[in-house]
Subunit: 106 residues, 2 copies
Amino acid sequence: MIADTPPPPYTAVIFTSVQKSPNPDGYAQAARDMEQLAARQPGYLGFESARDSLGIGVSYWATAEDALRWKQVVEHRAVQRIGAEHWYADYRVRIATVERDYGLQK
Amino acid sequence: MIADTPPPPYTAVIFTSVQKSPNPDGYAQAARDMEQLAARQPGYLGFESARDSLGIGVSYWATAEDALRWKQVVEHRAVQRIGAEHWYADYRVRIATVERDYGLQK
């Protein structure tokens, strides 16, 4: 569940969102589809997500260019448009370079 | 709920965790206390969190030095120790520089 990312540096895309209502139509299937599609893109390193009243999804990429390419994948753009119009009351996307990491088990 | 961060660059600390069991003793109160204490530290910009089977908390700081100082605050160190020993089966901390952001409403 915790993404097994390589040593830094790498890119993190932090997507924080508030849904208009819980479990909107089509959301769960689209989320699964996008996770699987993202995992097949060049430079994909992993994905983590959690949701209660707020949703946070973090995708990890080898480079900022890989993250940008994923943003532009046609199927992903279509889902972004549906999300902006129908699912989300608000969201924020932050593109960041991970410079250091550590954990309990490593 | 979505942190109202200033224009980049700024620092994000992404804390991803798996709890040994849901709602461990002392966790909820400690989380509230640490959110309030963090908000009083120099360079604090905001905090976002969500938890289902995975927990993700992201704190935002003006600089990497501010984030490091927060890690070393005595009360915070005590809670980190309790977490590592009692609450978490695993966690990962990633320190990142946010270089770009955008959202639905800005």
